[in-house]
Subunit: 640 residues, 2 copies
């Protein structure tokens, strides 16, 4: 409960549980008490998050002693008893953020109790001046801020601040909010324009957190500090590292960059912060810069799955069109960060490209990470698994990010906690409002309440089994008497989509957004999206997919697994003479297996020929791959 030294939060700090609340935007976001996922793919994942994933993560953080680091700090047992890597504090903060969104969403009393207990342990480790880290600053540890390149101190505090923001937005003043505010104040004292430290963090994250804390509290110094961090970066302010300055976006100011480069998560968190900053500062030049970077990144540096990061080395973007399937890094966290950036840009630009990107990455990267039982996760998301690999034991911490199967936890375990906070707050991606009406961006069984302003409220009930089926029925539960507009996204792949208004006359809806007059209460609009399985080809400059084809169904990328082929997918050749077959809820494609002869040298004068004995083989949604144990897998299938 709020204690006596409670914050003086502005009246609207709660903001209906909206994760991102820009001061101005073309479309205004909705929050977790305005959009309720009532089932379906995402609602089920939220339920799994609530029942299992959050518990799983909480248990592992306890078991590995990363949570205990805070107790050790409070009890003076550091550095002796410290466990985990330099950024382990951030996992506890991301868990707190997940708990905050989840309690805000469901009012789960037990989870609220656990959140408070965890927050108290964190609070006990905070220094009197507001500094907090279990890794730095004590006798026997390195001094505070002595390793901005790799130390992750500001990164961790950024996640603490995001936890505080989530709690403030879903509950109000509370201990973790105050811990976050004190830490943010300390950061401003130390890193402000006259502060003793004039650097930035090697891993962007504090920036996006500080802008949102400004939005919660109205305290301009947080915004000013975020601006300082963003503007300092890109001028070689960080020390030299083996990966070079591009790794942490210190080679060129974000304002001058033309495409995202370097470590993907770092680049995307920084881009998210730059959008927020541009919005608050009315800095259209900065906003346009990020829009251009993201457009180019989507056009040239993004996997079919929406994943980002083509190099294992440096966990970084590759060059334009360099998108190797078998070395796809496509970190789950980068997928989450892409959703964050594209959500922010969607609110500003109204460009369906960004909503398409959010949908693609949520279904095909974020949803791919957790196992069906919610107790194991992918860190990287390859598009081509060459060797079946091995099952990771339920009690095993995977030392390597690139496991062939989902692992219960990792030595570097940023992704599982990131998934939990993202899934708990998924509702925020579904819809937005403006003065005229409601925009629907993502399709799921849900209820939506949109406040258009001036007391004009729209309430909707969305019924759909999308993406299994393409029909989305939007029923109007409440509508303003003076009319309103319903705006529906038509994904770029949905050639032949139709929208049917209350009058029952269907009309073709082109890709992008289609606006229809909002029906009165009791009325209904139906959107029909052609989700049938389709062949997808790559730009000829994407060398990695040359001579190959992918299969998509609606927003889902599909994959061929060896367990369905009955053989290593390395030898598969697919025939594209006819469209993929849909039968009994499965997608099947004709696949032949190539006879390969092992030669002493794999290059020679003979051009490979195609096999002919194709048979229909089922594909699986990419997000479900490796659900039946070790397998080899391909998203891109060789063609004849």
């Amino acid at each position: 409960m709020p204690s006596s030294d409670s914050l003086d939060l502005p009246f609207d700090a709660h903001a209906h549980g909206r994760p991102v609340v820009p001061s101005r935007s073309r479309w205004r976001p909705l929050g977790l008490d305005e959009v309720t996922l009532t089932g379906g793919f995402w609602g089920d994942l939220q339920s799994l998050n609530a029942s299992t994933m959050i518990d799983h993560v909480e248990g592992w953080l306890e078991r590995l002693g990363w949570t205990g680091n805070f107790d050790a700090a409070a009890q003076g047992r550091l550095p002796l008893d410290r466990q985990g890597r330099e950024f382990s504090d951030s996992e506890i903060y991301k868990l707190l953020e997940a708990m905050a969104w989840e309690t805000g969403r469901t009012g789960d009393v037990d989870l609220d109790r656990r959140l408070r207990a965890l927050a108290a342990r964190v609070a006990a480790a905070q220094e009197p001046d507001g500094y907090i880290s279990t890794m730095f600053g004590r006798s026997g540890q390195r001094p505070r801020w002595s390793d901005l390149e790799w130390g992750h101190e500001l990164y961790c505090i950024g996640h603490l601040v995001q936890a505080g923001v989530a709690r403030a937005r879903t509950y109000g003043d509370d201990e973790i909010v105050r811990v976050a505010v004190r830490a943010a104040d300390h950061v401003c004292d130390v890193f402000g324009v006259d502060g003793p430290q004039q650097g930035v963090c090697g891993h962007p994250e504090i920036e996006v957190a500080l802008v949102e804390l400004y939005r919660v509290t109205g305290e301009r110094r947080y915004l000013d500090q975020a601006r300082l961090f963003v503007e300092r970066r890109g001028h070689g302010v960080l020390g030299e590292i083996d990966f070079g300055p591009t790794y942490f976006q210190d080679d060129v100011p974000v304002r001058d960059a033309t495409v995202l480069a370097g470590h993907a998560v770092r680049a995307l968190y920084l881009a998210a912060a730059a959008v927020d900053l541009a919005v608050e500062d009315d800095d259209d030049e900065l906003l346009e810069a990020v829009v251009g970077q993201v457009r180019t990144t989507l056009a040239r540096r993004t996997y079919l799955t929406g994943g980002m990061g083509a190099h294992h080395e440096g966990e970084s973007f590759g060059a334009d069109f360099e998108l190797p399937s078998d070395r796809s890094y496509s970190e789950t966290c980068a997928g989450i960060a892409s959703a964050m950036v594209n959500h922010r840009l969607l609110l500003q630009t109204g460009d369906a490209l960004h909503a398409d990107a959010v949908e693609r990455v949520l279904y095909n990267v974020v949803a791919t990470s957790p196992a069906q039982d919610g107790k194991a996760f992918y860190y990287t998301n390859t598009l081509h698994q060459r060797t079946p690999g091995r099952e990771v034991a339920p009690d095993e911490v995977s030392p390597r990010a690139a496991s062939s199967l989902r692992a219960p936890f990792f030595a570097v375990s940023c992704c599982p906690t990131n998934v939990t906070r993202t899934v708990a707050s998924l509702g925020a991606y579904v819809a937005s409002v403006d003065d005229e009406g409601v925009q629907l961006h993502q399709y799921a069984p849900a209820t939506v309440r949109g406040d258009l302003g001036d007391g004009r409220v729209v309430e909707l009930e969305i019924a759909t089994s999308y993406p299994d089926d393409g029909r989305v029925a939007v029923r109007v539960l409440r509508a303003p008497a003076d009319g309103w507009t319903l705006t529906l996204r038509v994904p770029s792949w949905a050639d032949g989509a139709r929208v049917t208004g209350p009058d029952g006359a269907p009309s073709v809806a082109a890709a992008g957004y289609v606006a229809v007059p909002g029906p009165a209460q009791g009325g209904q609009v139906v959107l029909d999206l052609p989700v049938a399985a389709r062949w997808t080809w790559g730009d000829p400059r994407v060398d990695a997919v040359r001579g190959q084809v992918a299969v998509e169904r609606g927003p889902l990328v599909l994959a061929l697994e060896s367990v369905d082929l009955g053989d290593d997918v390395a030898t598969a050749v697919v025939s594209t003479d006819a469209p993929p077959v849909e039968r009994d809820g499965q997608v099947l494609v004709p696949v032949a297996r190539r006879d390969v002869a092992d030669a002493s040298w794999p290059f020679g004068a003979e051009r490979p020929t195609a096999p002919s004995d194709a048979r229909l083989v089922p594909l699986v949604p990419y997000h479900a791959w490796a659900g039946r144990g070790p397998a080899t897998m391909r998203v891109w299938l060789p063609v004849e």
Copy 2:
């Protein structure tokens, strides 16, 4: 000059300047005073090495203070004045080895003086007990052997020992030989079966050096120590590192491995040592293990260029058939190490596969590294350059191994010194002997003197402009009266090769080795190899080359550069309807340029179609690429 405490070297320590002298072998190696390259591709490169590359490397090592580290050690100025990375000592040792082979080859008096001066500076830094390192063991430095995983102490001493071996083999007893012997003795004291240290070095190298030092000195403890190192490895004897134990071949004993894996240079140096050890120990099981590993590696994990190492991350081998062109690491040092291993296996097995591999990697990796002026080097050797990159300034140390253009020197500069020692000793790869006759493995203008034993000597003069032309004329200057056999390698690509004996009747020679009766003095044998440019296709499991074709001419891999295409090679499409055209010493292929439209998303329903406006565009030998400034480049060309 040898000092009074000279070693008691066996009579045949000199061994005609042979780098590798196995105690038993199917074919016996020849040395640098038995094979003289008299011009042509390799002779010219040796001249460039003598005139420029060795000087260049020597100058840079001095300028960067890496040589000065030894002076600082002798003068008690360490660690304060230390420069360079933890392995920088090894560069001085590799330079000493290069100088030793080069003075042995040419008798260059000035270089001999420089070698002695450099050796004296090294000798002054050796501790009384034989230990030598400028990085460890002093007050203010980490203790000796405290970081076997990354410290490279044994690795450096390994290169010192190889320098000592080279000097012993080309000169005899000398200061650097004695420094090497003392260091090796110290290693045996410390790491022997009863020694205080029971580990191995994170980077194999000491093993191959110790076996050869045994071969020079006859001292069995060096062989025993090499065996200990090889047998200890693979059982998790090294500490945990982020890359995992495969990185330094500590996951599985070399005897049990089925394919080379992990860091490519490490894996190959270890394999070379394992061959040597197997030979000395009559350990056929171990020899067969390495033969199998290398055969599989050539069949599945080697680039068309002969390069090895498919991952930048960990500088490591990839999975079977994972050979991305654009992320080819193919480190120059791994190319050198592959030549070392395949040379050793060739001498044991007589399998032309290994001589083919040596030829391929020498022309297309080792020769690719140095610039035409000998003053810049490639560290990695990509098969696909996506961006032109920038010129590295003549005074610039490249911090990154993967520069788009050759760089004068690197922060990690293993490759330039490795190239100098390899080029200086190239003659050793050309020919071998057995009791029956002479085997020619590599074709270059050269003289060869082969001692068959029992006073039977063959002397040959080889005239050829190979690989420009396919004719190799072997003239007999001296031959035993009782007959002998001339064995010639026919490369695997040389379909239709012909050999013409003294009687003038040509006969078809199949790939592999062809043995002909050795002519008497004055006689001649001519080998005609069909070097005409040809299309080369990849095994369909090599995803990275799907829908693409390469062009080879003789042993040379060719490449398309943007400077010849007049456009980025990303849009090139080649037509293979007719063989490549040869005109005025150039190879030309019909290339069309694809019109590419920039879309907001690079994947869609439309299958790319082929362009039709092909015109003939010249290719360059891959080893010469980027010789005309920044360019994009492809070895594998998309086909229609």
